[in-house]
Symmetry: C2
Subunit: 114 residues, 2 copies
DNA sequence: CAGGTGTGCAACCGTTCAGTTGCAGAGCGA
DNA sequence: TCGCTCTGCAACTGAACGGTTGCACACCTG
């Protein structure tokens, strides 16, 4: 399920144009041409961005008659969010432990430390 | 506080080497030279990555005697996680509404809609 | 059937980026 | 004090990236 590595998903989210695309696709399904009409880049550029987003598992594409419509998937973003939260918390925890150790006068006076 | 834009933070997290660095800095403070000793890249490369991470608000740097030590900040990562979770949920919600609309027989039967 | 629209593939271009080497300065430590 | 180490700045290189244009093909529609 979490088959896509963290850096890959983050890199996909690390571009302003892709966020524009995602925002539009979060409001409803859209084709590449439709996106190119509303965004200041060519359809081919949009296509490349969609490829990156699809490989990151952030969108889903579906053939609808002649055209292909894409839409944003919240699931992957939620999974990423949980992962980042977990990591951030672990950093904070270790940071607290380190500071606590640093403020201790010495190993022999570690009495009233909570 | 959330002065750093989403794409900037995500881009900073979109590199495998930077994740390596962050992982090490999450375990405790380290200098650039120490990181270069343990990672397969030069100190100068590490320095550039640290610059990116600092601008994204993901690490903090502190002059400790002659050397400069860096450490990972969980706060920014937590803020990012909450933001991504919020966005992901909104996508899911709209997606549900769209699917629900698609399965409705016709517009004239939209009575008991909330 | 013909024209318009949507898609895919490929080549090309300028910029950014990750990484390197080299050098000079600053501060601990023996 | 002398040397080792840590740091900062600068120049350079190759690859990746965002973006473009051009072309060929499929398909729906008037």
């Amino acid at each position: 399920m979490t088959a896509v590595a963290l850096p890959v998903v983050c890199a996909a989210l690390g571009d302003a144009t892709r966020w524009e695309i995602l925002t539009r696709l979060g409001e409803g399904p859209m084709s590449a041409s439709a996106l190119a009409r509303v965004l200041p880049v060519s359809r081919q550029a949009i296509g490349k961005h969609l490829e990156v987003l699809r490989e990151a598992g952030l969108i889903e594409s579906e053939q609808r008659g002649r055209e292909v419509v894409h839409l944003a998937l919240g699931a992957r973003l939620g999974a990423l969010a949980r992962e980042l939260d977990r990591i951030g918390r672990s950093w904070e925890t270790r940071l607290l432990r380190i500071k606590e150790l640093a403020e201790r006068p010495g190993p022999e006076a570690a009495f009233e430390g909570q």
